[in-house]
Symmetry: D2
Subunit: 362 residues, 4 copies
């Protein structure tokens, strides 16, 4: 894979694992020593990503129990690499044997074959959403570090499913409110309609996309390293690396296009004794550097590629064939993607908080 | 800057320079030896980015003459770092002295101050769009490499200014068509309206945003390194690092959200003797790896922060003050951003083409 | 640890694990797809590093059974990260409890405490030689790749123990000859004296240092990336990162100092149809790039810090105290270090072989 | 060159330039903002490296005037990349035209040709010692940062030329003492003999090697990132990347091999209120991390490859030929190498001082 499974400069995550191999996991290198962390805390985040949580997610049953293999001693990090392991449990390989000989539309089957020549066809192999387990486990460590050291809070939620969009108060939304319903949209009315839409899609053997929004509150001004490692750039990279991500926005995003400078610019003012903006259309980032306001990002997910309807495709020999998926599937990955989005944002912030330390002499 | 000015793993660009210092430039490290390249070829791309090209861009007059300082011998690259220098010429520092004492709204003045303590306030310093000179110079080398070695062609164009959107044939659009008008939108009718809108905005002392779309044709299947250095992720990082970028899309992007799996998936077929998709809603990338179809990306730019209208802000001492910009400005950065977008996409592809070499044993 | 546990650019090893935690291991990212590899092949190399092999190594008994957790499917690598796990078995933590309160001389106890504040004092934690397990496991994959893809062979051996130096034919020495005796010196007469010296040192409760030499045969000309990632530089970094390493040489090394240009230079000649040197005082590397001759490196190891004699030191509170080690120890780490040296050299060569692919246009 | 011209993680140096191109230089990225630095300070270090300083160095006359192109504003660093340019002046290309057609023994001519296919044959191109100009310029910034921020002092000197070894007090030696004679050995008696030996070698058309020792005083305990970015490993890489380097040692180095644990270990004691070692055979680094004692390193340089005697070699077509160098040459590179060694050590320490910031929570 030409070494593409490591993320970060100082707070660095390396993930590994395939859908149906012995397990998945990660190594977190660069976490400062002295951070209290337990397997239970990591488990809490993993449970939000794992399949089988509710009727609207895939029914694959995996307990996803995490084991800390290194880097934590007497309850605190030691500064050495933290290795986290999750064994694969309910891996019904037999469901996937037919995938060996064809390329599923809009999956990574063909591109992995084109790239690597060989391919672990069982459940999508490395391209399975199971890959995100390592991200979420590592992200849990980053979240703890951000909370403990910097007082930063990251909250992600489902903002939109298909054309149903919720209304969310970015300054007030909590994880509890997000987890209050199975679709993880903190707007209860919209959530109910989203769940209905997902149920409908499942019944039709179809799938839905949507938008996850994520806010980071309490981020100090000054994070981000121009000109290529701007905070915007690293968030974009982090979130666009998640399976099925197709679009990214900061602040007003694509809506800023139809505004004018006079209506988009955020005036500065002195508030609570420090320089603040009176609006936050910049989404907390200006010139690629955090300005102390709440960071606001969105990521668009395409509808899940797996559907239960017949589709045209080709075999690995290039013969036209009709393919119809069988077994368990997620008609909408959004509710589970929330944990991954949160993890990736936390990883970026943890890394940049460490990098920021060297910005100035005094 | 905690070392954020280097981009790429194998084909690596390091840029440097401020708006009003002695010059701007870059070092390209990792370009294969034996590539014919001349200063004139690089100059051609720089001329598309430089200010003062037409009445709709800033009237700052700079010739932006590039000098090759190393890495090219007898007309071809030698495999050693290519150092490119562009002297700053028309740098009227006196225009900027008033900027020392306040933070312009939605510029990087405040965040640079918060991060670094000190700040080169002349013309935005490193945060000036002049920084992109080094990107375009380095991108010209990448473009040559892609054309010569891989037959890959990258074409960017203005798709939308404010709410005026052009119609473009992605498979056929050429640089000549893009450069046929001063706004660089290859749809002549839309271009005329865009130019009018920019003229109007200038008259009003206001500014406009827009969308640049970029296509890469001829990219072989197999480029991209899951799970973090996916092609989608690296394109997102590259394009979101450009000043004023606020959103990124691949393929259908945010529009994919309201499609369903059954309407978004790209069926595979055998065409021209190889595996192709019959539609290209994936924008040429599946599972983070190129699939051989045309790559389609879009980047949203906010309206330029500099406007000629009075705005509320604070001084560096935190006192409220009204600020009104003087001097030259770009009411819409889009026509000049085209060259930068093209450069960044070329840099990503050149890097991944080199990385791809190690993907498989045979 | 500020992310210091990853090695390599394209063929990239990340190691993790402490002496007395649940296990040790590594992730190999960037190995090309299609390489046949089995747990047994990796096990073979691990068995050469593990303790308890013979009467001259530590009697800590660990089976060190490796498990492949990812990246290998149907017997070949898939191009995705290869995660390797070795559980810690015979970890008698009780032996180490007294180490909590003092700093052993010339161990890393004090420096880890100074750096991290907290410290896993059990058996040296991350600074234990057990850390090398991950290196050797990852190195086994690199060795297989080098052999299969490039026909490169890496052989390391004990050249010197204390003042006893063997004589070795660098062009002919084999792993079988190295493993023919327990000290891993392919000169049987010298080996016998080395074993005697180690036995004597153990009896005296003292320890010995020595020199491991390593040769790489069949390396093509052209590997190495000036000016900082020269082959010499990367070998030096790789070997000086091994615990107890104190010196590094290439070719004539420190002996070259007393030669003159006229007696040190390697004349070129045409031999076997290609450019060769008639001597090899350069050790196969010129200007930081391999020249096609056999690569010759040496690494000096200090005597093991653990000795059974009383030593002066201080407690963590700074009180002077006499310390005398108890339990199992290696009076000479050299015989086991051979596997680690071989692994590190293989890792460097595998990485540079991949990097070399992008050096020229044709 | 597959991107090998960048050094460092947070304090990052990128060098560029060939012997006979338009110039040489570097970009320093990641230097904290607020450091006072002038071109004169950098010039002081460059003057120690440049040719033509004295009768024992090459008579190539270059003024090597440095220009700061970016990253410094009103006398202090701004946190943005610092670009430094030195124009090549006295480049007599005509002296080198005969080098196009043959490979000089023990130069990099052949290996560059093998690697890159093309080669800038003028004066060794990138492999010329002129390449070190960028290192020394960047190292001057690192030295200033270390002095100002950390009170760290780096002093290098010629310890040995051929078989003449000086005696030096590592705790007291100053740059003034080093520069007191033209060979830069602070032992005046040894220096006189070294100068004589170099004069003799020049007369004979031959060349000499030697050893540069370097000490770093005032380095705080805790720098270095196990297990691969240990301080020992990074120093080794840094110093072995210098042209003509053939060996590296820390502390007792190769001499530690014949000591025993009981005679090599450094006992700890409480001195001046902190944990100190009563001897310093470890050379200030234990477990790859600084322990607060003076860091002691040595690097062995082979005799200069250029000699004025006839040598056997081959042409690029593989024909045997006798080659005899003409023109100016350095019979011993050691006096000028001192500045480069100092620069590289400073670069490593500056980088690790920044990385160390993230080691622990409090």
């Amino acid at each position: 894979m030409a070494a593409g499974s490591t993320f970060g400069t100082l707070f660095r995550l390396t993930t590994w694992g395939e859908s149906h191999g012995p397990g998945v996991g990660c190594v977190v290198d660069g976490c400062p020593a002295g951070l209290p962390i337990t397997a239970e805390e990591i488990q809490t985040d993993l449970d939000r990503r794992r399949p089988g949580q509710s009727r609207i997610t895939t029914q694959r049953q995996e307990e996803d129990v995490v084991e800390i293999l290194s880097g934590v001693f007497e309850g605190v990090t030691t500064g050495t690499p933290i290795s986290l392991l999750v064994r694969n449990a309910d891996a019904r390989s037999r469901d996937y044997s037919e995938l060996r000989d064809l390329y599923r539309p809009s999956h990574a089957d063909y591109t992995y074959a084109a790239k690597f020549g060989v391919r672990d066809y069982r459940g999508g192999g490395r391209a399975s959403y199971r890959e995100a387990t390592g991200r979420v486990a590592g992200g849990a460590v980053a979240r703890k570090l951000l909370a403990q050291r910097h007082g930063v809070e990251v909250v992600a939620y489902v903002l939109q499913v298909c054309d149903i969009r919720g209304g969310v108060d970015r300054e007030a939304v909590t994880r509890a409110a997000v987890d209050a319903n199975i679709v993880r949209c903190p707007d209860p009315a919209a959530a109910a309609r989203m769940i209905q839409a997902i149920d409908d899609a499942r019944r039709e053997g179809d799938s839905l996309g949507g938008i996850v929004e994520v806010v980071a509150r309490g981020v100090p001004a000054g994070l981000g390293e121009p000109v290529f490692d701007k905070l915007t750039a690293d968030f974009a990279r982090a979130l666009m690396s998640i399976p099925a991500a197709r679009g990214f926005e900061v602040g007003e995003g694509f809506d800023s296009v139809t505004l004018r400078g006079s209506t988009h610019n955020d005036p500065f003012e002195l508030r609570e004794g420090r320089v603040r903006t009176s609006s936050n259309r910049s989404g907390g980032i200006q010139g690629g550097i955090s300005n102390g306001e709440t960071i606001v990002l969105r990521v668009a997910f395409k509808p899940t590629a797996t559907i239960m309807q017949p589709q045209q495709t080709v075999t690995v020999q290039g013969e036209a064939v009709t393919f119809q998926a069988k077994g368990r599937h997620d008609p909408c990955v959004l509710p589970r993607a929330v944990a991954t989005v949160e993890a990736m944002v936390a990883l970026v912030l943890a890394d940049h908080a460490l990098r920021q330390a060297g910005s100035r002499l005094r």
